[in-house]
Symmetry: C2
Subunit: 195 residues, 2 copies
């Protein structure tokens, strides 16, 4: 997605060869026009898949996912990263380790919002080693629902998450695929590099 | 806002005389059509106020706030509830106690996204005792930015947050004001009750 790759090139900060900071338009400050385009692009890719629910993980997935859900005219569910006092009954759960935050979170979805009739589009902001995506798939699958595929805003294609998911037959649609991060430079897969 | 009040009446669950659960359309599962209408309503109320940024608190504020930001054509910033490894430099912070979760969180905004030129619309899902709203105002104010007002999806008017904020001269626009919660029954301010 050209506008997304341009934005990453202009504002993304390669903090190391593994960490890309995009907090000016995705992870902290959010560009709503870009989020709308991202959400509509996901919806377009899955428009023939009879999606009944969009599922994402709080917090950075919510903005792109709500536009996908709006366009597909289905509800969005954002999985919680830990239990709250008002969400305790019948939780679907999976443990997810975050390499960025160096901690394990239990992600949860209330079982009353998903069942075996559902066909789910999973959306997340980043795909790196695939922990979060696999956790989301696990949680959705526990309800009996099926997963149509995963929409990823930014895939770090130099990490193994995308490969692992695709090798399991899971459809992964990434709007920007990063081949390499170096100080001050982001190289996209099949797209050349931007300085 | 009529559609919002109807939704609260139909799907809101009064768990006690203080706790209203709205996880079927706002706090966990999200109704994107309703979020769009809520966001556009906030934008409409503040359209003459030269808003430069919308600020909310992760996670439940993000969906309504991103539609407000889109309509006002300004960036959204979602304040984080704790520090992450990739967001450490120059943080604006405030401590917020959550009565629902019985814990204190430090809410943070990176100082690079707000300055004294900014005029901010703050949006949050609930207003009860005002802790989160006051924390957001504190964080925004630390940057030198001014606050145009606060947009609240659901105000529990029987708690004192709204009164405290308004007595300080802060403009508070609540789309649904709840006068009273009883088992199975939600009574709105000036709107009668729904069973």
């Amino acid at each position: 997605m050209e506008n997304l790759m341009n934005k990453i090139s202009q504002e993304g900060l390669a903090l190391s060869d593994a960490v890309l900071k995009v907090d000016s338009f995705l992870n902290h400050q959010v560009d709503p026009v870009l989020m709308k385009e991202i959400g509509e692009t996901f919806a377009s890719k899955f428009q023939r898949d009879s999606i009944t629910k969009v599922v994402t993980l709080e917090s950075s997935g919510i903005a792109p996912a709500v536009f996908a859900a709006l366009t597909l005219n289905v509800p969005l569910i954002f999985a919680r990263k830990r239990k709250s006092l008002t969400l305790q009954e019948d939780l679907l759960t999976a443990d997810v380790y975050s390499f960025t935050k160096e901690e394990t979170n239990t992600i949860t979805i209330s079982s009353k919002f998903l069942n075996e009739e559902d066909h789910v589009l999973v959306i997340d902001d980043f795909l790196a080693n695939g922990q979060a995506a696999e956790g989301l798939i696990k949680v959705v699958s526990k309800s009996g629902a099926s997963v149509a595929g995963i929409g990823i805003v930014i895939e770090k294609a130099f990490q193994n998450g995308g490969k692992r998911l695709r090798s399991k037959g899971i459809r992964v649609e990434s709007l920007a695929k990063i081949a390499k991060l170096e100080a001050g430079k982001v190289t996209f897969v099949n797209e050349g590099s931007f300085v």
